[in-house]
Subunit: 339 residues, 4 copies
């Protein structure tokens, strides 16, 4: 067994990491931190973990303890304060914040409004979508775990851009459940506000927009324009991204599907289906993808995942598995709820 710790374990992604790790066959969760909750039982905050996680929140992890892997589920800004000391000690880190996702520190500053304080590690961080960048992840000490929207969107579009069959403009109309907004009550996630409508927000200004662009450009090896419109949808878990791109030249649907099934051959967690469903993936690390060819040359790509699993904590564990030389699917190989 290898050992793990979670820094910042009070929120949804921290709880979800613990939910998944407590059944992991190879990783033992040994510590969770929370400044606010230090001293209290983890299962007092996350009651569903009662009987599974018998830990108390610590103020901070003890760096003299040797953890094989540390998951950092702190807010952006706070992550880059704590990551350097871990990496320095040679501890493998999966960081779930936005701090190490954008490879260019100037882009980071522009979208996050902060100076980047750890450019050295930023340069070495691997971007953690395993279906696209597994080799780099395998060698990395630090993996930047992607945002939920970029994971869902880029898994949906990567095959098209990797084969250069589509033009350089993409429209992403994304719909997310409310758990993506985190545990802190806000005006927008107040039930009477959001339960009977779908709310577009941060249109063109969401921080996941440059992240999507960076990933697609890396795949396409060419500049791409991204128009990204996130919506808050009245469900708790799950996400659908509906993306629109134009073919450079005629292709039929069968050829497109062949391109996808070749691209994702052997990738356990990506499933090509005729009708991607959120319910089919909820609770699991799967991503479902489907597509339609509309009009002359528009490809409509639909992709779904559970924003807390494949969109966050599940993918973090998948990255950890790869970094640690464990089977990629360890602790994650179970189906979604279905209904």
């Amino acid at each position: 067994m290898v050992t793990a710790a979670i820094i910042g374990g009070s929120g949804y992604t921290g709880g979800e990491l613990a939910r998944l790790l407590c059944r992991h066959p190879k990783i033992t969760l040994e510590a969770m931190t929370s400044r606010r909750l230090a001293g209290s039982k983890v299962s007092d905050e996350h009651s569903y973990l009662e009987g599974f996680v018998d830990l108390k929140y610590q103020q901070a992890i003890d760096l003299k303890e040797r953890y094989d892997i540390v998951f950092v589920a702190a807010p952006h800004g706070a992550s880059m304060e704590v990551v350097p000391s871990l990496v320095e000690r040679g501890i493998k880190v999966v960081d779930l914040s936005g701090d190490y996702r954008l490879s260019d520190p100037n882009v980071y500053t522009k979208w996050y409004g902060l100076e980047h304080k750890d450019v050295k590690n930023l340069d070495n961080a691997a971007y953690g979508i395993p279906e696209l960048f597994k080799d780099r992840i395998a060698k990395a000490t630090l993996v930047a775990n992607p945002g939920c929207y970029p994971t869902c969107t880029c898994l949906g579009l990567a095959p098209l851009f990797s084969k250069s069959v589509v033009e350089d403009k993409v429209i992403v109309d994304a719909k997310s459940g409310t758990s993506g907004a985190g545990m802190e009550p806000t005006k927008m996630t107040h039930h009477p506000t959001c339960a009977s409508q779908i709310i577009p927000y941060k249109v063109g200004t969401h921080r996941h927009s440059p992240e999507i662009q960076m990933v697609l450009e890396r795949v396409a090896k060419a500049p791409i324009e991204v128009v990204f419109t996130p919506h808050l949808m009245p469900i708790v878990r799950g996400m659908l991204c509906t993306s629109y791109v134009r073919l450079k030249k005629d292709m039929d649907k069968a050829s497109l599907l062949k391109l996808y099934s070749d691209f994702y051959s052997g990738k356990r967690f990506v499933r090509m289906v005729s009708s991607p469903s959120i319910s089919a993936v909820v609770g699991s690390n799967f991503c479902e993808i489907g597509l339609e060819l509309v009009g002359a040359n528009t490809v409509v790509v639909m992709s779904t995942l559970d924003n807390l699993v494949k969109g966050a904590s599940g993918q973090a564990i998948q990255n950890a598995n790869i970094m640690l030389g464990l089977p990629e699917t360890a602790g994650l190989d179970f189906p979604g709820l279905g209904v």
Copy 2:
């Protein structure tokens, strides 16, 4: 036309009062106050009122202006600070807070944790369920507008207690939409918390419990024990109260229904139906009631209403109509959404 003002118009009940008053054939809304929003347009806070309510929030109402009726939609504690000066000037007041509902100031102190500062007006306040206490409301200067749960429960049970056909113990299992919790985001009304479950809360300790007891005792002219369990349900508007009482002696369902239809004869806003529905009353001032006789002698009474209309602002206007000598249904006589 008579003139009206709303004190405390930033929340859901304030907005709902304005939504209903803006179409009222006899009452003109002339002022709304909000300390927090003073100076800003009402329709900036409540966008659906754009084009209907052309007012700016005031810091306070000008008592030199002569309003025929003032609706006080302030929190409890704050209401009894402002009501005395209104009543003193002879202005008719409908108070939507809990301050004037419980006729015994000691009971008020026990449940609200505050000393009552306006016992004189408390003594004279009428309790505003028009179907039960219309005569007193008609003569009152101050009406305490009831809580949503007491309105829904007591309309459902009053016929049985008024005819003394049931025993003195009642169990009320109530389910409310989240708008009843008000506009302020909280942990419990955070969408990811409450959207996929039904949450019992304040079991036996909710402030509406003594209010239900007071009203039923007034109707029954005898002491009654109330066990009241409210639940937060994942809908926005609407409420169902399922109440359980035991018959003193055998009665069949037809006799019970006859008792109800006699009791509510001529009461426009109470509708006896076989299956009470929230959807049928949403957006309207109607209350639907149905009942079943189960086992030897248990009557299961089900009652529904829209907590923001018949459970708050609609009933407040109904009370105002009565106080002002207007037709009781003025501005309120339209059907629920149905779907």
Copy 3:
């Protein structure tokens, strides 16, 4: 008072017509038909109409009675069987089906799979979005009441196409509540299927696609390509259309907003807002529109309406008002629920 009848009054749009007409100051609803429910009370099917609509369903309307306006809320295919006999007698008709919306009978046949049997009236039918085609509606005997998606989308895009400031391709990502699917239970609208996800359906193949294209081409006076992706969303009432177009040349957001406010000047039911909201329009005949300029030249237009009101029965009454020479807003001039 003018008199009205509804043919096909058992479904959601029929019930909604009755809900609105029962409070209309100038139109009296005198008959509703339903083959299935003939002889039973309308309020037995639509309980919320109890006390407002005191009619029984008839097998068919009696053509010897002279109705000033007939609303046909029958399914497509059935409408064109009944409309000719009405028009022939000079009765004004608002048809809520798809039968008279697509001006080209060949396009109708392609998308509806039926031969058009009433091409003569099809030629004379006015398409009923009053904000775009009021003059023709005012003179028409037959108005084809638009689909919910086309109304929402085209109100959102018409200003841009009327001024020819955008390119000829539009992507419409639309999200609708489930009441748009009608009253008949189906696999897709089964609560366990649709309540925890958002489901894309009929991608590129929905019948509202050619209708949107027709309307926009009429406004633009030029050919337009429409990529239309409808989604089923887990709310009951309301719709959001997020549309994407590209500017032909640079414009700033202020100029775009000016273009919209000029275009909709004096149109009571269209409201430009910074954040279009479904809750703000639910229950009402309003459409809210907002927009953002993203990237180099993409305009993201967001529009919301209540699919049963402005998207169906409310707009039908608005059309009837115009046809009958009544004030356009009669019976419709009240705000949405807001929350």
Copy 4:
């Protein structure tokens, strides 16, 4: 490994059995039947099982194959047609229908409207709530898997009745998610009907009423009156039962909690908590229980579970584990989703 088959695998409980069995460490699922879907892949019907269950639906199971355990997820009436031939061959059976739950065939006939055709096996069937009847289950060839409402209610109330501390009347106000209604679309589970309200149904006439009574009487060894009111609630998975009983003599809350913790000591899947939560148990085999003492002597017991897991397929596997001599928690020992 032991081998299993599922008869009737097209519905929600069949799919859920497969979802759980595909990760079971000791049981291999070898066959699933469905008359309607015979020949098609299981993962075509239940897409979330793609990659986990590689079976095709069979018309029927081949009795010459020796299955160690057969789960019958057929409708009532159909189960008693197929169970006898299995039991006769000595195959262990868990039946998820209502056919073998009510030990008295006359009660069965009264509530199900059918003659019981297999009274011999009915006499020998064990009722499968392991926390209450484990010894009998361990020896049984046939286990009647309980209804969701009886499991949730009786786990909540059994400690009180087993110690005879409460009176013989119980009121159960139960709220269920819509998946409990099964996979077949109906008027009541049509999203526009049920999504914005909570609907009481079959008040006093639901088939789970005599089942609850039978179990509680067995525990209490005395007659009990049950008043049972089920409600359909707008969530998909999960159930809350709020039950009301009266203490025979004074007890404080601490004593009651002690009584519960003693009773459930060592029972892995029952968890005493201060606030029972549906979200905490969704996806899992756990049942959460909490209680409050209200007024003079009323105990309000709240219990939650996932109706498809502990309320159906999870409990069926728990029963199978016991019958087969496997660890009771095998394949079921993971936490709920939490959020």
